[in-house]
Point group: C2
Amino acid sequence: MTKQRLSKKFWNPYLNKLSPYTPGEQPTMSNYIKLNTNENPLGPSTHVKNAILKVLKTNGTELRLYPEPESQSLKKVISQHYKVNNNQIFVGNGSDEVLAFCFQALLANRGNLAIPEITYSFYPSLAKLFAININLIKLSNDFSFNLNNLNSNVSSVLFANPNATTGISLNKIQIQQFLTKNPQILVIVDEAYVDFGAQSCISLIKKYKNILITRTFSKSRGLAGMRLGFAVGNHDLIHALNLVKNSFNTYPVDKLASAAGIASLKDKKWFDSNKQKIIRNREFLTRKLKTIGFEVLPSQANFILASHLKVSGTKIFSELKKNKIIVRHFNNPKIKNWVRISIGTKVQCEKLLKVLKSFII
Amino acid sequence: MTKQRLSKKFWNPYLNKLSPYTPGEQPTMSNYIKLNTNENPLGPSTHVKNAILKVLKTNGTELRLYPEPESQSLKKVISQHYKVNNNQIFVGNGSDEVLAFCFQALLANRGNLAIPEITYSFYPSLAKLFAININLIKLSNDFSFNLNNLNSNVSSVLFANPNATTGISLNKIQIQQFLTKNPQILVIVDEAYVDFGAQSCISLIKKYKNILITRTFSKSRGLAGMRLGFAVGNHDLIHALNLVKNSFNTYPVDKLASAAGIASLKDKKWFDSNKQKIIRNREFLTRKLKTIGFEVLPSQANFILASHLKVSGTKIFSELKKNKIIVRHFNNPKIKNWVRISIGTKVQCEKLLKVLKSFII
């Protein structure tokens, strides 16, 4: 990028107020061990490749046609998989886009939104974009939060479960109690990491009209490169998302992403085995880190948040990077002494431990 | 969809004002001749398939990683192809998404937007979404429009060139004169169809800071199924688009779409040949339609707008559909007697003519 001064002559003046999200870096060199963006270390089901090849038969001619505007084929498979109706599903270009549509359709112009003090840092970027006021839910010393600690002037709540950055999750029953007590509050649960051990709230959408769940294919299904996510909720919430989507971008899900999603959902055997491997590696890494002086939060995600008694988060981050291992370090003062480590393969976990020991012990 | 009444309890109240876009239908039966959404009849370069297969080698494991957030690799190839700088390019999920970001970043909160009376009907949907007031530019009897006929209270102008629905284009010199005379007005030119014979304005971005051009891979590159589009303009306009994109959806372009775009741009031989075939078919179809009593607008796009002296647009549309040929018919009173026909293969054009003759002559 050149360092020319920007002319804002044709800018929407509101752009000056934005605080765009900064994603974890994507190094172009492949000799890095990349444990910074919670990608799946093992890659997707091999059925995905086969499904894409099938679309590409006859020289890719099929790509000349627009995809299904409403992603009906993918919705059908999602609805069977999660035992919900077609009109209770919304599909988008990654759960980031699905969340963006949620902000525009269900959170904007509806009062204050509560989010945990520490969570996915994309939420505040979206809130700025749609001029939504945020109330932060305080975390306890153990980094958990309690939904009963909300301010009274809140119209909506959004959190990741397990929570982003910490990996700590709420139980379904805690969420259900909140829904029952607060029928006037819309609750959006971002279940990006739920498959690694937490309880999903999808079944609650049948009883409660004040809950919407977002999901991604990027983590437990190893398809971050394909951009695919969805939301599940009562049909009137889904209808609102469709209204915005069809006013913004009619076909966000391309033909290959749709085929990839369908193939992934149908390969239950791969899914269960992949998930178990990551959970095992997480437990292995957590145990080993504790033996060398780390505090590790109890994670139900495919990452852990860890802090060392004697070495700062900044130092751990930079020493690892020197050794070609990238983890995530956040500027947030509350977690500046922590690093977030995505769960890699067993070999990657062992390499990480070896490098950590080289400068910690 | 169930016919249940919608509860709008959790809706952004503004949603009631939206007018979502209705895309042309995508029939699921493959025995239709589909001439309704201006897709490329011949499909993309075969290099596209090979590029996707390359990403998928080693069982698609590469898909586990997020794509480049700023689509650097694709931008590099676009910049070489169009002789512009990297920071003069913005890439998105189809030109629809690119246009949506333009509306949010450069048109919203900036006064009135002028669009032609007849044009891509997605623009008014976007304008509603971002609460932008529209001024319509009147079309002449020959369906052309003159930029000098704008109201004086306009801050921005947006049109497709060639124009959507009509296929008629403005010359680059007409646009350049407008840019020179009106440095306070931002001009967005949607060049979705420009490759089929009109003049591109991309070279003007070096001299003029008040023009932004949007492009798609869906038409002349036969990649509608992949969702890929881009914008070219001065870097301060592009910066505004990035601010919104990074507040809305960090990675809209997936790994396979990026690879497809790069491969397509590199295959100049295929591109030129494909374009020439479609132009030849357009001229053939136009000539033949005129011999059976059609008026056909002078199109420089991959579609034509045609009207018959004796048979109504509605009847032509429905008779063709009975015969498994789908064209597009619009409710707009000004063109209700016209049908828009995408240019298909020579065989499809001949089939269309045969069916038309069966009920017209």
